[in-house]
Structures are given as structure tokens and as C-alpha cells.
Symmetry: C2
Subunit: 706 residues, 2 copies
Amino acid sequence: MARLVLMVSAFVLALASAPAFADGVPAALKQSGLNLMPWPAHVQLHDGRLALTGQFDIAVTGHPGQRVYDAAARLLQHLQQRSGIAFTQHEVATDSGNKQAQLVISVRRPGVLKLGEDESYRLRIDSRHVVLTAEDGLGALHGLQTLQQLLQSDSSGSWFPTVDISDKPRFRWRGLMIDVARHFEPVDVIERNIRGMAAVKLNVLHLHLSDNQGFRIESKVFPELTELGSGGQYYTQAQIRQIIQYADDRGIMVVPEFDLPAHAVGFLVSHPELASAPGPYHLYTRFGGKNPAFDPSNPETYRFLGRFFKEMAGLFPAPWIHIGGDENSGKQWDNNPVIQAYMQPSITSNEALQTQFIQKLAGMIKADGKQIIGWDEVLQPGLEKGAIVQSWRGKDSLYQAAREGHRTILSNGYYLDLLYPASDAYLNDPIPPGTHLKRSVRRNILGGEAEMWSELVRPGTIDSRIWPTAAAIAERLWSPQDLRDVAWMYKRLYVVNLDLEDLGLTQIRGQGVLLRQLAGQHEIQPLQILVDVISPVRGYQRMASGDYTTHSPLASITDAATANPWAAIRFNEWVSRFVKHPDAETEDKIRLQLEGWIANDPALEALIDRSPDLHSIKPLAQSLVTLSKIGLRALDCIDQEQAAPQAWARQTTTDFLQAREPAEATQLRMVDAVEQLVVMALKGDRFGGPEAARDGEKPSVGGRDK
Amino acid sequence: MARLVLMVSAFVLALASAPAFADGVPAALKQSGLNLMPWPAHVQLHDGRLALTGQFDIAVTGHPGQRVYDAAARLLQHLQQRSGIAFTQHEVATDSGNKQAQLVISVRRPGVLKLGEDESYRLRIDSRHVVLTAEDGLGALHGLQTLQQLLQSDSSGSWFPTVDISDKPRFRWRGLMIDVARHFEPVDVIERNIRGMAAVKLNVLHLHLSDNQGFRIESKVFPELTELGSGGQYYTQAQIRQIIQYADDRGIMVVPEFDLPAHAVGFLVSHPELASAPGPYHLYTRFGGKNPAFDPSNPETYRFLGRFFKEMAGLFPAPWIHIGGDENSGKQWDNNPVIQAYMQPSITSNEALQTQFIQKLAGMIKADGKQIIGWDEVLQPGLEKGAIVQSWRGKDSLYQAAREGHRTILSNGYYLDLLYPASDAYLNDPIPPGTHLKRSVRRNILGGEAEMWSELVRPGTIDSRIWPTAAAIAERLWSPQDLRDVAWMYKRLYVVNLDLEDLGLTQIRGQGVLLRQLAGQHEIQPLQILVDVISPVRGYQRMASGDYTTHSPLASITDAATANPWAAIRFNEWVSRFVKHPDAETEDKIRLQLEGWIANDPALEALIDRSPDLHSIKPLAQSLVTLSKIGLRALDCIDQEQAAPQAWARQTTTDFLQAREPAEATQLRMVDAVEQLVVMALKGDRFGGPEAARDGEKPSVGGRDK
């Protein structure tokens, strides 16, 4: 056991020695232990340190606004908590213009929560002082987060590296959407996610507040909306104000979405008279299915929505209201003669009717001093130029909207609920290297947004879907375009994930809770080892494979598994390095991991046998041990420079097929890597020894590896 | 590793075979897997099962009140979540008098939140139906909690055992006090603890709302109390109403405490004119020290307190206000000539002055329709008969107060902050077997209260101090007096602890969070193995050994360790059984555990070496491996029926001394057990083989074990 654990904890070290990348970041800097995420625009690391002591104090100068004072006070608290050092200073007073302080924060103006605010900062640390300068308070907030990420500790204590950082965001809109309609999320879930967003410099929280499964915000004008449409699960206006303030304190805007004209059951339960087909309507407990829509021919629809939006516009200070606009099938419209009559003669399609509807909404909302945001489908001829288009269908529509003069946000590729690994979202650039777009068109691409649709999450699991993947998306949207080194990203993400836990996010601890429930005991280590190499099936596979409702327990192994299983990520990285440069050190790591999985198997299978809720994952445990043995045999062949027998390799086909089968909507994520080892073993030799790996060059071996 | 983990998870099985106890509960029932806590007054277990299916439904008859409907709806949710079965029924309607339902809850009246309410229930489960009957809604709530604890699952699915339970509490007052003054606890911390209280049938939440470190509740009459006395950390009146309602929904009363006349800095910061010595006063950041008191000679004191208590009496529906009354040194009174003059001629001591003060308060509070509760010190001649005395100093004062006609509550022995193991509190009976007290005196002993003083806890660690020990106290206060089987209690406590986690309590998951922070990595298993055999130093040792303030981080290994380390509890139980009946099976378990600790050591020490925050606990790791080796050698001697060499045993003295040394305010908790093995080994033989153990009899071995 000792060996296994040692290896496991070598994670950071293991990934740190990944190959160099053409991203302008020197390898030495990548291996320096600076776990910054998002990585700043410019980083210069020096040799020294600034030791953290009880004398650490903070002074603020200029006109930073309350946000910066509060953030500085939080930093004090955090540094104490992490270092265990009690500071003399407990509060950052608003008149603390003490230029002698160890950290001086100098800010010209508070800044405004709006798109395109400066947000830049400069952070210089020498062996005696930290100087943080920023044009506005929002930039200062970002700088304080960077400083917090810079804290290190070793046997000499806690310290900051001496460093010179200047930084600013690449994109203006760095969002996270949380769908609180399909499954409601209480205020504390939202607040802890706001803390997570601030930590990785995301700046827009988009709340999807209504859908077919519920209406989630109190209206004082139309209290029936939540009385009938929420099942008691909604935010009061006091709570929404609290959320907005909490986000604002951390430099984050809150944008509300009310999905219209379809996805509207949450509205129509209490207002069936505004629907395009007769009611009554009941909240959906299932997902998908028919998608009732407002009646765009009914003047009452606009009277109602006008009053409703006026109320919401007064509640949310952000300059936009998201009106959805997606996935309206038009079927109710087709079958309603009054609507058909209304359309004649000039409205020739449902798309045109929807556009007219959206335009009317945009007009009302403009009168309330706001502009609209809508999903892809709102992009129709005649759409108001000020409207922002949020692209969920792909980059074609993103660029099309931008070319047509609309500001746009990329969501496609950032759907957290689909549970693709963080690397996929990380490499999904709104404007990838080599994209040819005019400067004016580029300028219209505001950024992107991570989307947390909530069919299959509840408060206890949602953090583990959002994080840490959203941190990788945050880096994509903040940091320079040429950063695409996945191994280095994962190395930092591993640490950021722990930092996020420290903020109260539950993506790690929640897994333990679920595993203990499933196992019925405190000790879950054998199960944990399995869960660290599996992840949920991706895309819509799980939805397709089960009959889920809003009442489904969501407490199976797939709810405990995550999109980024660290043991699999690490193992795959080792193998991918080993097949390129087969050195003895990496081989040892791979071998030790495979032996560890085999050693774990009896305890794992015994635990599974004792726990009825786990029986269905026994095939995964069995495949893990089978593949581990195959991997070891392949390594033996490679080691002995003997080609593996073709017959044996052919027999493994059944095992690989079996190992790729999902169980309980989860899958093993180290199968390809083991197969790579077998492929390598079939070649019967290794390309070189440790020397070859050390100088980073593949030795010439002629045609042998045909 | 496999062997180790297998053994670890055999926890429940291991303790289930503990020896019989004279508590009237048949051994078979103890081994039945009914993990009820508190154990009911009468339990009859039958052979059958009631299988849980999607058809499970609930009907309510009689006049149960809203509490029961809400609790039934929560039960539905819980059963779905735990079983993974989706029920057809989602809501328990208030007119659901369907007598055909699988669970019929029949209640005569809602019941009132007051001491001495009936609270009894009867629960009968046959293979087709569950019938829960109760006189009042509070009893029904308890019955639903018992039903929830009865849920079992195995390969055949989820089911209830067929059982006949009739149950009622032994004591009327089963409380938990949370000190929110020294460290503030946000609403969600209080709410999750209320859920935990309800799960184990505790019925009084006592909030210690003011002390020298803070004043924690909004007063609309005197808003300066929190403006100046809370550092922004307090409950608004809306929040307190929310807490009271949340508790009321679960059958729990909330009793507020305002500590007077001393412990009063929280008040005096904003009202220095009412103090017995001139101000100004500042909130304490340290604990202990001088204890300023109100001026009892100042008529303004009573005008202020009269108005204040009138406001609080309107806010809290419970019929009592706790006025503290403890630890007034009287020094400020001695040194204030005005107070000295006021005392002349009739008030001859500070005790008499305090009694007069308390009596005046009691009079005011009576005028507001409430009675007072006070700590021990309020028991003075002349104390109003209706006053309840809460005994923190011991049972002498408990019985004295009861004899003098006061109702009393035991707190002594239930101080959770002192971190004694659950077994200590469990065996601390307000009226132990054999106590001679008149019936009328017994009647005055209302029950007891677990006390969570908060010098050394914060929201992230408080649950791990309260739970699961408070569940053992709950059983002491609810269940029959003769239940004193500690091994069986621990067996059930282990499961209850998991159930409590399921309610959102953080005592298990919080430990992982802290260990990951300390280790700086996700993988903490080697450290976890150490933490499972250590616990914090007990009593006031930690306070004495450090310079703690309200700003101290409280994030060291001792904050992660708990009073009930399961691996040590299990190990100690094995050894204690083994030295009485040395059988091969128990020897194997002990041996395997010792080998496991040795095998873990290299990984543990490597992890400690990498983590500066952990360096100080290296001696514990070293002692664990040293003692494990000693234990194994002792076992070898016992196994070979060869007396261990005296010289060797003498040499171990240094090791035992070293192993008992605290490090980072934690101590190993398996040292005595290993020493017992050495003592046994010195005798050079075993008393008998597995046969001896099997028939539960110690064979006659003459004088050999002198």
C-alpha cells in the first residue's frame, strides 16, 4: 500500500515534467510551482521570496471603493487560515493609507460592473513588499486573487515568490450559467459558486430562472407565478438582492434569464390564458417533451410581460435581461387558428412570428433601460442590433451573429452537464489560433459562458459538475490564446481544485458523502480508487438511458464520479509520454499504478458485494483488474524487447470491448492507454532507454517501428 | 492493502459480537442490525420484512398538525434518496385519509412544544403495512425518525424489518446548547444541527447569544447592541424567526440565553454606562480574563434590561429566557463605592447582591410571561421557585436544586468542547442506577443538555465536535436507564454518524477538507489512517497550551481529529476482548491492524515530510509504528505461549512514554491497548483457545495468571 500511495501523491511532480509547448511560457516557469489559473498575460519570476509573518499588513490608497477593502479583509483571513499565522492586523480600515504596509494596493477608481471595464492589474512582489496597482477596483480584485494563488509553503514557512505580473483579460464576458429551474439551487449553493467564480476571474453569473419545470423568483406584481409555479422552491426578492450584492462585492454581474416564448410552463401554470393552447398546465417533472409557448397574438401576453419585465428590470442592476428564445417548436402556433389568422398576411413563418415577438419584448425591455440577450434562435433578420446572441449551437452561428453586427457569447462546447473532460472545454477557443475574422467582427465576440443545465444535478452534486472544469474555461476566456498545454493545465487545475474546496465548494467532499452512503460505511478507500479512474458517460447518454424526473434521487455512482478522474488523467499522461519516450522512470510509475489497481481489487469487490447499491458496477472493477494485468504483460514484453504474441493480443479484444461498456452510466477512462501499451508491445522493442527520454529526443531507430 | 481494508470495513460486525449486558436487550436483538439510536423503550423484532417499492405511500389520519405532514413528506424524499426507488406519491396531502396506504400515521392532536408533552409513539410493521400511532404530533415525529432508521437494504433491495416498537422519552429536556457568541455560527450551521437533533430526538436548542466576545442577535429597540457589539456577525430578527420556525417544524424549542450580570462585554460595548466599572469596553478577542458585570445598583440597568427582555420575549415563543448568571467574580462590585453603598446595610455579600439582581430580572421576565433559567450559581436562598437551574458544576448541585424544589437540567459531563469520547458522556446519567432520590425530587430533574462552547470551533469544524457524541447523549436522555453497553452503543453510533452526514452535517466530510488543505493534495489516505487513531487532547489542555484568539485559524490536525476515532475504538475493543478471551479470530484482527499501521508508515511519513503544516505530528506517526511492532512482538509471545522477556518489556517503557506525548494537541488513542498486550505477553501464555472464547467462559487456569 505504501508504494501505491506514494505514487499517487506524486501527481503534480509527474505532470510537471511534461514536454515543452509553443506557448511562450518557459518550461522552467511551468515547473516553478506557480499554480496560477487563469495564467496571467505576463509573468516574470525572480529568485527571491517574501516570507509571510504576523507583521503582514495591508494598506489601500487611491479611490478603490468598498469592494477592494472587503476583498483585502478576506485576503487577510484567508492567509491566516492557510498559513496558521495570526496577524496583528485584523481589519483593513478605509483610511489605511499607510505606505509602509507590506501589501500596498493602489487603485485609481472603484470601477463599474459593466462589460469592457478595464480589469487589468499589475502585481510586483519583492523580498520585502507587495505592490498591487490597478486602474479600477475590479482589476484590483483580480490581482488579489492572483496574490492568493501565489501563496506557497514549505518547511521554512509560508511565503510569496518574488514575481512581476501584469495581467488583463482576453475576453470581456466570462460567464457561468446555472439552471435553477429544472432543479432549484438554494442561496448558499449560489453564493459558494460565486466565490469560486471570483477565484478564477469569471465575471458574469447567468441564472436560468424559468423553464418547464419551475419558476424560481418571487414576483410581487404576480405572486401567483411562484405560488403555483415553484413547488415552494424559489428565491424571494430579498434573497435575489442578497445574491446580487454578494456577486457585486466580488466583481460579478448577475444576469437573469426568463425563457420565452417556449420553455414557458413555469409561467403558464399560473397564466394558462397566455398560452398558445388551452391549459391547464402543470409543472413538468420530466425533461424534454412538448414545449408550450406564449401566445404572441394575444395582446394580454405583452401587457403581462411588460409589467413583469419592468419589475425584474428594477430588481437586477445588470444592463441585460436574457429572454431565452430557444427551441420553440412552433407546434402550438401551427395548431392555433387565432395565431394563424394573426400571422396573415405578412408573417410568413414561425421564425418571423418569433422574431416579431422577440422584437416586441426587446422594445419593452429597452423602455426599462435594458437590452436583451437570447440564444442562437433569436438571430433572425430584423433582430435589434443591441441584442446579444448567445451561441449554443456552434461557432458558425457565433461568427454569423458577430458578422451581422451583434455582440455574441460562445456557449457551445462549454456545456458542463455533458461531462466532457476539462481539456475539451479548455481547447474550445471562441477564436482559435488561425481564425480569420475582421477586427470589427472579433470585437463583437464578447467571450464565453460555461453552462450548467440541471436535469441531472442537485445541490449536493452540482459543484462537482461545475468545478474544476469551469476553471479551465475561465483560463480559456482570460488568458492568452496560445496557451494550449493540456498537461500543464491539468497540473494547475489539480491545485486550483483544492483551493476551490477551501472556498466551501463541495466537488471533492461531496463525492465522499455519496460513496459512504452507497457503501454504508466510513471506509471507502477501495471504492475511491475505482471512482478515480471512471467518469460518467458523456453527452446525453445518461439522459437517454434512464427515465429521469425532477424527483429522481441522483445518488448513484455516476453522481459521485466526475468528468476529471485524476488517477486516469495521470495514468493516461504517463502512457502517452511513455509510448513516445519509453524511459524506465515512467515505466515504473505505470507499473506501480497497474499493480495498485490489482492489489485493490479484492477489497473493492468485497465492498461491492456487501453493498447492494454497488452491485451493478462490479464489471468495472473486474475490467480494471483484467486490463491492469494486460497492461503489465505488455510492459513485460516491452521491457524484454520481445514482441508480444499476436494471438494473445488478439484475445485481449474481448477484454477491451468489455472494459469500454458503461455500467451504472459510468465508464473506465484508462482503457485507451492500456491498449496503447499493447500496441507498443506488439512492436516488441522500446525506442530507447532513459537517456533518450532525458534529452527529449526520439533516437533514430530506422524503419523498425513501421 | 486489500486485507487491511477488508478488516477496516468489518467494524460493525466486529463490535456486534461483544459480550452480553444486563440491560434486558437480548443479544440476538443487538446483533440484528437494528441501528436505532436512541434505542426505544420496547422493541420486539419479528422474522419478516416489508419490501420498499415504488408503491410506498403515506396516509395521515386524525389531527396531526402541519408538522407531521411536513415530516412525512421529508420521509418520502429521504426513502427515495436512500433506496434509489422513485415513488408514485410525491406529496403528502393534508386530506390523505387513505386507510389503504402502506404507511398510516394516526395522531390524535398536534401537540404543543412544551416540556412534558406526551411524545410517545407506537410503530408496528408487518409484511404489508406500517402503522404509526401517537397521542400527539411530536410523538409522531419521533416515530417517523425511528422508521427512517429502520430502513435496511441488501441484494434483495430496500426493506423494513417487521417490528413492534413502543417508545417514550425518559427525560423531558433533551437539549443541545450552541455558543454562538465566542464564534458565530451562520444560519445554515444552526439549521443542519437542528436536523441532526431531530434525528436523535433531542428537543431543546439553547442558543448562548451574548458573551464577552460578541452580541449575536439584532435588537430593534437597541440596534447599537449589534452595531457595536457583533463585528457584523449576528442573527437578524428575520433570521432568528426562521431558525425558530425551522426548529418548531421539527418539534424543537429554541431557548435564548443572554448571559448576565457577568460575561457581559457584548452588551457593555454599546452600553458602558451600565457597567460596574467605567468603560470603554471592547469585544474580547481572547478567552477568560476579567469578567465585567452590569451595575446592579443602577436603576438604568433595569430599565434597559426590562425593555430588552420584553423585546426578546416577544421574539422567542419558548416559555423561558436563560439569563446565564455564571462566573461573576464580583471584583468590579467590590471596587465600586456606589455599589458598596447600595449594598448597605442589608445586602451582605456579592452572592446576595447577585441573587437580588437575578430576582429583579426574574420579575421582569415573569411580567413578560416567561420564567428564567440560570446556571448553577443562581441557586441561592430566595431564588424564585419557577426558575430552572442548569447544573454545569456537577450532580451535587443538580440534586440540591431539585431537593430545594427547582426544576434542574444536567450539563456537567456533557461538555462537547472538552472532547471526551462519546462513551464518557453516554455513561453520565442524570440519575444513575442506584441513586436514592424521592419521587418528587426525581420529578424535578428535567433531563440534560449537551454543551458546545465555542472557543475553539468555527463553522467548518463545529459539527465534528457536536456529532456523533451528542447522539450518545440523546440516547442517555431518551432511553431506559439500564442501557449501558458501550460496545453496542458504538456499533450503532457508527451507523448513526453516517445517517447524520446524510442530513448535511459535516463532521465526516469536514475532516477530509482539512486534511487535504494540510497535505496540499487530494490523496490523504495515509494521513487518514493516522487521524483515525488519534484524538485531540481532552479537557482544557489545548486552551492552556496555546494563545488562542477569536481570529485563530483553527485549521491544524487537532481540528481535523475527533473525540471518537473509529480505528482506535475498534482496536481497543478487540484488545479488551482478547485479553479476556484470547481467541484466534480476534488475534488475527489485532495483528492485521498492527501490520496495517506499519505498512502505512512509509507513505505517511513521506506525506508528512512533504507538508510543512504536518511536521509537528511526525512523532505520532513514529510512535504508531513503534507501538505496532511492540504489539506484534507481544502477540508472538502470546501465540507461542512463551513469556515475553522482562528486559524487553522494560525497554518499551520509553516507547510508551513517548507514545503518550501529545503532538499538535493530539494524542494516540491505542497506547493503553498495546500496553495491555505487553502485560498479557509477560504472563507467557494464553488462557485458552478459540473453544474457550466460543462458550464465553474463562477456563480455570489455576494461579498462573497472578
